[in-house]
Amino acid sequence: MSSPYHKTDTITRRIVSNSNNKVRIASDDYSLMLDYYANNNLKDWKVRQQNLNNLIANNAKIYRFYGNDLGVEVYSKLNFIQLISTPTNTLKKIKILDKVIEHGKIVKLKFIVQ
């Protein structure tokens, strides 16, 4: 599948797989943010920020992992939302490693920049 604001993916199904399984597709945040910036679409960009704000708990623990030598960097909720809503080259390379959700909100998130 491919879409302007989703990462291109290939899905392989086995004959024995159950039908009607849900397939998760990854959004391409960089392309989406670039579109908002290029078109000065502040309105939709703010909606996106608000959605992220609702999705992440205020006291969420957010870590960027660098490996064993350098360790981790701690991000505040605000820092992380800003990071993923700004079209920098860093955003292109973010990969979420793990997330913990409680009561519908992300309370813990680990990511890397590849």
């Binding site: 086995r14 024995v16 797989s17 910036y37 000065n40 502040l42 960009w45 623990k61 870590y63 992992f65 660098y66 490996g67 064993n68 030598d69 350098l70 360790g71 981790v72 960097e73 701690v74 605000l78 820092n79 800003q82 990071l83 809503s85 700004t86 079209p87 920098t88 080259n89 860093t90 490693l97 793990d98 680990k110 890397i112 920049v113 590849q114």
Partner: protein, 155 residues
């Protein structure tokens, strides 16, 4: 005989497929394994952070509608005031070199010099900036990790 072989093959196929479907991941373990495999060096990290800083300076100049959001990020990455680059709209940075010139500011802070070329349509200028690396320690899921923060300054 052919039928028997066919039945065995079908059973084998279904068995393998089920094993695949029942596979579960320990995300915590996988996270650390994956992180270890993708370990980056201090030089790579400082280069990436400086590129990010420069990207933000360019975005601030080119997209004033989003300035408020960008300024907050630049402040977070600045040791003192936000760094200014002439003709940043058209500029790009090349040949980023993290030097071995490290000044120990305190037990937890290192100051590292980064050289780079500032390239504009009219000229290329050699320039430098300092990265301040603040180190501490943090416990995540019962495991101690070094933690760090990078900020930039012209001096």
């Amino acid at each position: 005989m052919k039928q028997l072989i066919y039945i065995i093959l079908v059973l084998l196929f279904v068995s393998c497929a089920n094993k695949e479907m029942n596979k579960t991941y320990d995300f915590t373990t996988e996270s650390y394994t994956e992180t270890s495999a993708l370990e980056i060096t201090k030089h790579e990290l400082l280069t990436e952070k400086f590129n990010q800083y420069f990207d933000l300076l360019k975005l601030k100049a080119n997209h004033p509608d989003f300035e408020e959001n960008i300024i907050t990020q630049l402040q977070e990455l600045s040791q003192n005031k936000i760094f200014k680059i002439n003709s940043v709209k058209e500029a790009k940075i090349e040949n980023i070199q993290v030097t071995d010139q490290i000044i120990v500011v305190s037990d937890s802070i290192e100051k590292i010099k980064i050289n780079y070329d500032l390239v504009t349509p009219k000229l290329t200028v050699k320039d430098s900036i300092y990265a301040y690396k603040t180190s501490s320690e943090i416990t995540i899921d019962g495991i101690n990790f070094p933690s760090l923060k990078i900020k930039f300054s012209k001096e």
